[in-house]
Amino acid sequence: MNRVYKVSELVEEIKWFLEDTYGAVSVEGEASEVRYSQKGHLYFYLKDEKAILKVVMWAGMVVKLPFKVEEGRVFVVTGNLTIYPVSGSFQLEARKIEPAGIGALKLALEQRKKKLQEEGLFDEEKKKPLPLVPQRIGVITSLEGAAIKDFLKILKECKVNTHIKIFPSLMQGKGALNELIEGLDYFEKEEVDLVVITRGGGSFEDLMVFNEELLVRKIFGYPKPVLSAVGHEIDVTLCDLVADIRAATPTDAARIIKNRLEEVLEKILEFKDELEDFILQKLEREVLKIEKFAAILSLKNLKRRVGEYFERIKYYNLKLKESQSKFIFKKGENLKYLNYNLSRKFYNFSFYHRERISNIKIKLKNIKFYIMQKKEKIEEFKSGLNHLNVKRTLKRGFSILRKDGEILRDSEQTKIGDNIEGELYKGRIRCQITKKEG
């Protein structure tokens, strides 16, 4: 007969067995269902493709974790396997949690950076510009490092004087954060245009102080522009990100300041040159104008002017005369023209009439000729008549019959009842046709 356990007895036995057998174990897996309780305890599951393991970390340990356990990230959890009798669940009580593949500090930094970025601490539009004249400079740095030497070396060459106040501070390790904050507090009250925080390159751990949230927030709310030049180009700290101006190295920081100051100086000198040039040119133009007026007004010029006027008057006089004679000439021309016109018209007129007269003459000649012709015809008729000697025929007893003056040669020329005239050798008779034959 098997032994019948009470639940608590069995669970307790397994719990002891587990704790004795395994002791401390390290397990790697992906975090899921992460939950931070109100009391600060941390609960989540570690899982892989095939299984899950419940993990718990008590609040006292959780506060020492620099980062937050994130869903989906792979962690290596070290702790003891145990059973929580109240729920009967088997779980890993974590003493240490480390992100896999990345240091805990790096993860912590990553998470902090993300958080501050979301808060807008690194926003460009919230940054203050480099002052126009960053001449009084507060520097927070270590007196021992090369950083301050590099920085001062560049500014010694600057054409514009600078007043540099150095606040010596630890730049790494314990106490560095306090001193950096203290330095910022100090320069807040001092008359400086710009505060520079600078140090040379270092390891990730060396530069860790420049990622402290306290420092980052202090710089974000700082009333004066802050230039951060921490480490080398590759070492971008949160201090660099939050600062108003960022330089890669201490030398670069000094160059930014030097360039600005020299630019301003140059600009002033440029303005000066432009002003002087302008006023000189302006005055030169005015002097030229005055000289021109003076030349015009000079006595010599006046005499010449009067002479010129005389010449002009003479010229006009001449012109006038010329135009007068031209005018007269013109009149003569007009008359000539008129005369010409008239004589021409007259000539045309007389020519026309002469033509007409000669035409008439010719016509008259023609008429004479015509009359002569007629006369000749008449003579011809006369002689013709003589030749015919009609009377003699009539004498011989012949008669001429006429109807309406027309000599009749055919009986057809008449009809019965027509009155006809008969010319005899002596006298004329009137007859009426009573019969027609043949």
């Binding site: 002052p131 126009l132 004249v133 001449q135 009084r136 007196l143 021992e144 001062l152 010694k156 514009v160 004087n161 600078t162 007043h163 540099i164 106040k165 150095i166 606040f167 010596p168 630890l170 390790g173 314990k174 106490g175 001193e179 203290e182 100090y186 008359e191 245009d193 100051l261 301003v264 100086l265 600009k267 002033i268 303005f271 000066k272 432009e274 002003l275 002087e276 302008f278 006023i279 302006k282 005015e286």
Partner: protein, 79 residues
């Protein structure tokens, strides 16, 4: 910020005014009398800006911190 207060005039204001003046003179025909006035104002501003720049002496100062902090620092250095 250097102490630029001199009748309310700051370095920045002076530079801005200078820029305006040069632009104005550059732009067009300013009558002679006015241009001389403007020129004088401009040269005053140039002098003001130059003197402001020269006012600052070339100086490097180390802030002496409180003695206890100094001794603490020395301790740290010794570690």
């Amino acid at each position: 910020m250097p102490d630029n207060k001199k009748g309310g005039l700051t370095f920045e204001k002076a530079m801005k005014r200078l820029e305006e003046i040069v632009k104005k003179l550059d732009e067009g025909e300013v009558p002679l009398e006015e241009s001389i006035k403007i020129f004088e104002e401009g040269m005053e501003l140039v002098n003001f800006c130059q003197s402001k720049l020269q006012e600052v002496e070339k100086k490097v100062e180390e802030i002496i911190k409180k003695s206890e902090e100094k001794s603490r620092k020395e301790n740290d250095d010794n570690i």
